[in-house]
């Protein structure tokens, strides 16, 4: 044995190692491939040996060969062998090779799971490190799922070296196994405050990556990051955080306001350019997100622009580049401040560095105005001529087109100039943007009616010179332009001066070398031209000319009939037959021109690109359902060949279909116009252009500026755009002169000496009148188009799966425990699967379809509501400012769910946020999937505003949001259940105290609802819930859901309560103490809606009952009756409590303080799982779990007036004992009574 080892090592001496291989390759420069193939043979031999050292050496060499481009996947199994070596040296080689060549479809990866797990738990930190590094490169969804738990454990490893690697790799795990995000997130968040800067940096890194894709879920971390930003000195961390803030601010403008100051300070103080640059970038993002116009912002903008100018002027090209990059971001919102640096940017356009030129080009976009567009484009055209690389030239081309066409050709005053620019661009060698130019030509010719005559003339010249464009193969991209040219000439052939010549040009034999789709357009438009020519010729009473034209068609078309392209062939043969028929008629001296041109009658309107998509699906139409029974597999195969023939049939009837007579067409058009005019969704032409249309009915007849064609041109007959610059200059001067004249005249008339008007100052934008009266036709959209913008989202984005709501998890974890299904899979025996109750699953499925449709409908409205809500909140914020001054980052108004957890990091201070309540309801919603009951229980701090409608809207939007959230969670849950139900086993180590947030949920909770019946009769049913208002210790909000139970319309509902000394309904100012409150909505039959009423209470230690009445009018088709309904509002003590999360240490301090009075209660015969019990207390009585150990839990809640209520709940057998402490014994007693009652009911 020993001998064998010695022998092995001696053998090894003479094996080729990596260095030898490299040396060998270098020595065989001539026959490298051959040498390498012999080496690979050697390696294969080495891999067959038992000695792991030899194998490792071979794998190491393979890694090198992989770099040279050799596929080494055949050795994947050997790599796994080397990975599993016990020696670090070999293990490292194996993992390196694996990280270089393994990927998701490598099948041996599934063999590595256990090996990696072993390495991860190795006592040697470097084994673990190597495994983590390797895994980060080849993690698959399976590995991620199986190892997520192990890696999560490593996040709390004692060695920072492992911790930081584990934290980083979690991002990869999240990507592959999104379900792990929720359970791992709390720990990840913890790592943000890790003592080791490396770990901290890694955590920041991961969260930044996550937040970049789904920023809204991470808004709640803003306070924490803010703290880090002000405390950290690590520039890497700072850069990441500042970048993250850049992504967050668009979602939360208030955050931006807080950020400006520290960022400005950093800008002034830092010496690191990278940090300075990122700060400027984020300040820009903040300024973009904030509404402009506030005085202090202009200073920040100025600062940014000023700093950027310094960067751009720097001799370091990198800084110059970045300066321009950031400048382009400012440009979008504050074009004015960038425009003042035009000189600098134009200067950069001449830079020798292409990257910098490209960036400067981007900026040009915002620099143009009506005044300087021509000048700038002229400069760019010069660059186009000079540019050496095609990439840069193509970029220039697209930029020219972008600049000119931006915001509906806003800056173009002379479309003739633009057409000539486009024509000039067609001369570019080897550009691939032919189609772009073509589409611009089409767009302009269609939408700018006045230009058609000129455009057609230009296009005819292009067609005539088509050989110049198609001359050499390199220019194939540009021949797309001919597509546009042919179409324009055909469609607007009435503008052609010499249609016959153009027709000739279109039927040249050379055309047959063009791509098929262009030929097809040629053929079709030749037919249109033919119609025009016929029309003009028949008027001449000379029939021979017309017959000659037909003959020309008949002679030339067969060339296309032979085309290999189906489209060309089909069109050509159709038209050929048609022309032959026409010729026959002509020979009989029949007038045909009218009928032929009727083929192409009617004008095409431009249609918006998304128009088709936006046609709403009519109600009752299900696009997914089969119209007929789906054919069986075998049938469809048989039918396929048939379909090919069937398709050709309609061909014969096509010409006839187009022959709809003029009258009918006109009638239809009229009808459609009428419809469009009445339709609010139809985007009409802008008023200005409409006006033009009305004022100048003869726009088509505006004389075209004469062009002097004697100027030497590259392509004969094509104008140079440069002339237009001159012409334009002259025109403007003339205009100015005229204006001056007029002014002088006026002055003369007035004879007033004080008129010292500037006469030679720079003309303003408005002064420049377009050369042509331009009528830009807007694009047509379908009637009832859906105004949605979400068409552009990529459905395949892997980060979409990570769009997981983390807010409620982070902040009041106890109330929104991780569902059982969300636990990370842990290794365990599969046999021990826990029995699952089918009820919940069933529930979820039955709920879902019902809600889906309503959700979709609401989606649209939601955005609008949210906007409104935000602005409203701004207003409110000012009101409440005195309450928390700089205490927390966002201003403390936790009304919006997105900013819920502002306070969670302030451990010791008892949190003062209502946000917890929000989550409570969410948690409840999850536990109790009842569509009605979950709606908007959240307290609303709004003082009762007179704007009732607005209030209602806000509420309903909340309503919706919550439902959606719930739905999402349900879906998530369901999905996971389906996929991984065999992985859900708890650790079994139940001894460990479970801190805030990880209460296990062994069994699904039964549905719960806090809404209880208020009153009911045959017309209406009212259910209500009461919630405390955190902002104001004397207010509670009663949410009442009114449900219409009858078939009639309920209106004029008035809600009135007989106030007591202690509790009063808040009424709008000016109304008497006994007036009712109008319910801000009406109820159609079967509909329910929710209204909220604010009550002021003085003492909250006792429960109360208030009597009240609801009056309303029941309206039928013919009659209406007054009705009323009496009710009793029961204010329980529980309703004064607010769910407030509390940390165990703060809780312990509170108990130790000794200010609390004690009381206790015993509940007998409670027969429910402990976690159900806790959930019930949490849900019905607004408590949160502080800590849970086995069958014992501490809970906390707080009243609106700041009383602390602490519970210690213990369960043994069927007895539950609750020991409670509170600083107000009466309140405590009442709360305990209510808890007792809750459990006696079930």
């Amino acid at each position: 044995m020993a001998l064998k080892i010695v022998k092995g090592s001696i053998d090894r001496m003479f094996d080729k190692n990596l260095q030898d291989l490299v040396r060998g390759i270098r020595n065989h420069k001539e026959d490298e491939a051959k040498y390498i193939s012999t080496c690979i043979d050697e390696i294969k031999q080495e891999l067959k040996q038992d000695n792991i050292a030899v194998k490792a050496n071979a794998v190491c060499k393979l890694t090198y060969l992989q770099m040279l481009g050799y596929d080494v996947s055949w050795a994947a199994f050997n790599i796994v062998e080397v990975m599993s070596s016990s020696k670090f040296t070999y293990k490292r080689i194996g993992y390196l090779a694996a990280s270089q060549c393994f990927h998701e479809s490598t099948d041996v990866i599934m063999l590595t799971t256990n090996q990696i797990r072993k390495d991860l738990s190795s006592p040697n930190q470097y084994d673990t490190g190597v495994a983590l590094t390797g895994l980060s490169c080849f993690v698959t969804p399976d590995l991620a799922r199986d190892l997520a738990n192990d890696i999560m454990t490593l996040m709390s490893h004692t060695k920072p070296y492992i911790r930081k690697k584990a934290v980083l790799i979690m991002y990869k795990v999240f990507l592959k196994y999104p379900e792990s995000l929720r359970p791992a997130f709390p720990r990840l968040k913890e790592k943000l405050e890790d003592p080791d800067p490396g770990v901290q940096s890694a955590a920041v890194n991961v969260i930044c990556e996550l937040a970049r894709r789904n920023p809204k879920n991470y808004l709640s971390l803003a306070p924490l990051f803010f703290k880090l930003m002000t405390s950290s000195t690590n520039n890497w961390v700072l850069i990441k955080i500042i970048k993250l803030f850049g992504a967050l601010t668009p979602l939360e403008p208030r955050l931006g306001k807080k950020l400006i100051e520290p960022l400005t300070n950093l800008i002034h103080s830092t010496s690191a350019m990278s940090l300075l640059y990122e700060c400027v970038n984020t300040v820009i993002a903040v300024l973009i997100s904030l509404s402009s116009g506030m005085p202090n912002h202009s200073a920040s903008i100025q600062l940014c622009v000023q700093k950027l100018r310094i960067l751009i002027e720097d001799s370091d090209q990198n800084l110059k580049y970045l300066g321009l990059l950031a400048m382009s971001k400012i440009l979008k919102t504050h074009p004015k401040s960038v425009q003042s640096h035009k000189d600098l940017i134009l200067q950069c356009l001449d830079d020798k560095d292409e990257s910098i030129r490209l960036r400067a080009l981007d900026l040009l976009y915002g620099m143009v105005s009506k005044k300087n567009l021509m000048e700038i484009v002229k400069k760019l055209m010069l660059h186009v001529d000079k540019a050496e690389g095609t990439t840069y030239r193509d970029e220039l081309l697209t930029k020219i087109i972008d600049i000119c066409s931006q915001s509906n050709y806003q800056y173009i005053t002379n479309f003739e100039w633009y057409i000539s620019i486009l024509v000039e661009l067609t001369r570019l060698e080897g550009t691939r943007h032919g189609h772009l130019i073509a589409s611009q030509m089409l767009d302009v010719a269609i939408r700018v009616k006045a230009i058609r005559g000129f455009a057609v003339a230009q296009m005819a010249t292009l067609l005539d010179n088509a050989h110049l464009l198609t001359g050499n193969m390199q220019r194939m991209g540009i021949c797309e332009v001919l597509y546009a040219a042919a179409w324009i000439c055909g469609e607007f052939s009435e503008h052609l001066e010499n249609p016959m010549q153009t027709l000739e040009a279109m039927l040249r034999p050379k055309v047959a070398t063009l791509p098929g789709h262009i030929q097809a357009v040629y053929v079709q438009n030749a037919a249109k031209l033919f119609a025009t020519v016929l029309k003009s010729q028949e008027g001449n009473t000379d029939s021979t000319a017309a017959q000659e034209t037909s003959q020309l068609m008949i002679d030339r078309l067969p060339l296309f009939v032979q085309s290999a392209n189906l489209e060309v062939q089909e069109r050509a043969s159709c038209i050929l037959q048609l022309v032959k028929y026409i010729q026959k008629l002509q020979q009989k001296d029949v007038e045909v021109a009218e009928e032929v041109s009727a083929l192409f009658a009617g004008e095409l309107n431009p249609v918006a690109p998304k128009a088709q998509k936006k046609v709403p699906v009519p109600e009752g139409l299900d696009l997914d359902s089969w119209i007929n029974e789906p054919p069986s597999e075998s049938e469809s195969e048989d039918e396929q060949p048939k379909a090919i023939f069937a398709k050709e049939e309609p061909k014969h009837s096509r010409p006839r279909r187009e022959e709809v007579d003029e009258k009918e067409l006109a009638k239809r058009r009229e009808a459609r116009k009428q419809e469009q005019a009445n339709n609010p969704f139809y985007i009409k032409a802008s008023p200005s252009s409409q006006k033009v249309y009305q004022e100048a009915p003869g726009v088509e007849h505006i004389p075209v500026v004469q062009i002097d064609l004697s100027v030497p041109l590259k392509v004969p007959g094509l104008p140079m755009s440069d002339q237009y610059v001159k012409l334009e200059e002259e025109r403007r001067q003339k205009e100015r002169a005229e204006k001056k004249k007029k002014e002088k005249k006026k002055r003369k008339e007035k004879r007033s000496g004080r008129g010292k008007k500037h006469d030679s100052g720079p003309e303003s934008e408005e002064d420049i009148t377009p050369a042509h009266q331009v009528d830009i036709v807007t694009e047509e959209m379908p009637e009832n188009a859906l105004p949605s913008d979400d068409d552009d989202k990529d459905p395949n984005d892997p980060h979409k799966a990570l769009d997981i709501d983390l807010d409620n998890l982070v902040e009041a974890a106890a109330r929104r425990p991780l569902a059982d299904s969300e636990k990370l899979p842990v290794r365990s025996h599969r046999a021990a699967e826990a029995p699952k109750s089918p009820t919940e699953d069933g529930d979820a499925t039955s709920q879902e379809p019902k809600k889906k449709s309503s959700k979709e409908k609401r989606e649209k409205k939601k955005d609008k509501d949210r906007d409104r809500k935000k602005s409203k909140e701004e207003k409110k914020k000012k009101k409440h400012k005195h309450e928390e001054k700089g205490e927390d980052l966002l201003g403390g108004e936790a009304e919006e769910p997105v900013v819920q957890s502002e306070e969670t990091n302030e451990v010791a201070a008892p949190p003062t946020s209502t946000s917890a309540e929000e989550t409570a309801t969410v948690a409840a919603a999850e536990a109790a999937p009842m569509p009605e009951a979950t709606s908007g229980i959240a307290p609303d701090s709004e003082p009762d505003e007179p704007k009732d409608t607005e209030m209602e809207e806000t509420k309903s939007s909340k309503h919706k949001k919550k439902k959606q959230k719930k739905e999402k969670e349900e879906k998530e849950k369901k999905k996971k259940k389906k996929h991984h139900h065999h992985h859900h086993h708890s650790d079994g180590g139940g001894e460990e105290a479970v801190q805030n947030g990880t209460v296990e949920e062994e069994e699904p909770l039964p549905p719960m609802s806090n809404y209880c019946l208020l009153a009911e009769n045959s017309y209406v049913k009212m259910v209500y819930d009461i919630q405390g208002n955190l902002q104001d210790g004397s207010q509670v909000v009663v949410s009442v859901i009114f449900e219409n139970k009858c078939d009639s319309f309920l209106k004029s509902m008035e809600f009135n309560v007989l106030d007591s000394l202690n509790s009063k309904l808040q009424r709008p100012e000016g109304s008497g103490p006994h007036d009712g409150l109008t319910v801000p909505f009406q109820l159609p039959p079967g509909v329910s809606n929710e209204a909220r009423f604010v009550f002021t209470v003085q003492s909250i230690i006792m429960p109360q009952k208030l009597k009240g009445t609801l009056t309303f009018i029941v309206k039928n088709e013919d009659s209406s009756t007054h009705e009323k309904l009496d009710f009793k509002l029961h204010f329980t003590c529980t309703s004064y409590l607010i769910t407030t999360p509390c940390y165990s240490d703060a809780f312990a301090k509170l108990l130790e303080s000794g200010d609390l009075k004690c009381s206790s209660v015993r509940l007998e015969g409670v027969n429910m799982p402990f976690h159900h019990l806790l959930a019930r207390i949490c849900f019905h009585h607004h408590f949160s779990v502080v800590e849970r150990i086995d069958s014992c839990a501490s809970m906390y809640s707080r009243s609106i007036q700041g009383h602390h209520v602490c519970l210690l709940v213990k369960v043994s057998a069927q007895t539950v004992s609750i020991d409670a402490k509170c600083d107000e014994p009466t309140l405590l007693g009442n709360v305990l009574d209510e808890i007792k009652q809750t459990f006696s009911q079930c």
């Binding site: 090592s9 001496m13 481009g69 596929d71 990927h103 890497w236 090209q317 990198n318 910098i356 990439t391």
Partner: protein, 192 residues
């Protein structure tokens, strides 16, 4: 995220490639060629950022590179990375190489590709920046190298000896191709 790290010499010969997203081998070679083509035609005094690699990434990705003597260090990154930060990172990486190899030159990278990988692994992991502190990086690399040596023990000694002898026979290895101008102006190196 860093999508790829490529090191190649002035002739486009790869010295180290590290992709953090899977590409097949021939695609990798194509990317290297394209990147080399883009980078090599640029003057040394133009900026170190480059857009327009068509094979890797797309509009969100940028090439950030540095050119040292005979070698190009190219990082392909997306917009979540700070441009200047990555430039500094390249500098940190190169300086670390310089420390670990004692005056690093292209030949070190040629013959010890594996070691360069191990160093890189301590700097970037799975496309994310792991460590930027040079001392920390070198410490970890050293400890691991020492472990390797101790594991090799007696049995590895003869192999090392042979290797040394082989190296002695190679007088042509020029040890003086210094990585050169290490003190290139780095805008913000000092505070890191």
């Amino acid at each position: 995220m860093i999508k790829a790290i490529l090191i190649f010499n002035n002739h486009g010969k790869p010295r180290l490639i590290r992709f953090y997203q899977y590409f097949a081998e021939d695609m990798q070679q194509q990317i290297i060629r394209e990147t080399f083509h883009l980078v090599s035609k640029r003057d040394d005094n133009v900026c170190n950022f480059l857009e327009g690699g068509s094979l890797i990434g797309g509009s969100d990705y940028k090439l950030i590179y540095r050119h040292y003597a005979t070698l190009y260090f190219v990082f392909c990154v997306d917009s979540s990375e700070s441009e200047l930060g990555i430039l500094d990172l390249i500098q940190v990486f190169v300086e670390t190489l310089d420390k670990c190899f004692e005056n690093v030159c292209e030949l070190d990278l040629i013959f010890h590709m594996d070691k360069v990988h191990y160093i890189l692994q301590e700097v970037v992991m799975g496309g994310m920046v792991l460590e930027t502190n040079m001392n920390e990086i070198t410490t970890q690399v050293d400890v691991q190298n020492r472990m390797e040596k101790s594991e090799g023990g007696l049995s590895a000694a003869p192999a090392r000896a042979v290797s040394a002898v082989k190296n002695m026979n190679l007088p042509e290895i020029p040890r003086n191709i210094n990585i050169g101008d290490i003190n290139i102006k780095v805008p913000s190196l000092s505070p890191f």
